[in-house]
Amino acid sequence: MDIVRFEPNESEGAGRALPVSSLPFFFDIANATAAKGVCRKKSALVHAAAYEIDDGDLLELARAGGAIVFSFSDVLAERGFRRGIIISKMRLLLAACRKRGTGFAFATLAKDSSHMRSARELAAFAAVLGATDVEMKAAKKSIVRLAGRGEKPERPAQLSAAKAGK
């Protein structure tokens, strides 16, 4: 399941892409200050364009059952050294999410159909950021649940603990 910034029709994969306009709990935040209010909202999907969120806000978001969205469009928009910086910031934020038990999701947030990517490409994006197979599955479940009903996502830390218990 993908999240996009336009209204996809049938030929553009309407079945597997959700427009942002249909997600009332999706929030774009520009900086760390703006994140404070948003992270307390229940089951929020938060996209931070700068990929800089305080650990305290991540904890709040984890308690509220929300998730951080990692957007592939942010990588596509940059070139060269700046692309390297944004990937590095994403890696650090993913590690912080893992440490604080915050859910996360991967999406293209494409502005048109040419910027949409396949599931395999999104999986490769997640793997390069450092997500494990278990976390990728949890991320997929998170995005389906949050997009569908606004329920709490499965946290990667809980999944790992459950798996270790078996």
């Binding site: 990588v75 060269g80 040419s114 910027h115 990517r117 395999r120 490409e121 490769a124 994006f125 793997a127």
Partner: protein, 103 residues
Amino acid sequence: MKPTERFKRRYISFSLSAAGKPPLYQDAKELVHSHFLSFFGESGVSSLAFKLVKYEAATGAGILRCERSRTDEAILCMACLSEWKGQPARLEPLSTSGTIKRL
């Protein structure tokens, strides 16, 4: 060299289009090589065991080779291509295999 010391290879089939049509062989080679070099750098390309194995200009289909443990990076690199010389371009990975025959 012993087989265990060699690079473990993976082959990725892809579909390439630039400005809505498949580019000619020389253009495709330049595009793929410059894009991988830009993404990985010289050191990265050398450790990636990268090679453009095959490309058919008529269909835009091709095969490239990479190191097994870095398949995800190679696929991400391919996904990161969105334009070339001011024209929209797409390098879409189709399938991955350990042998060319099974692609």
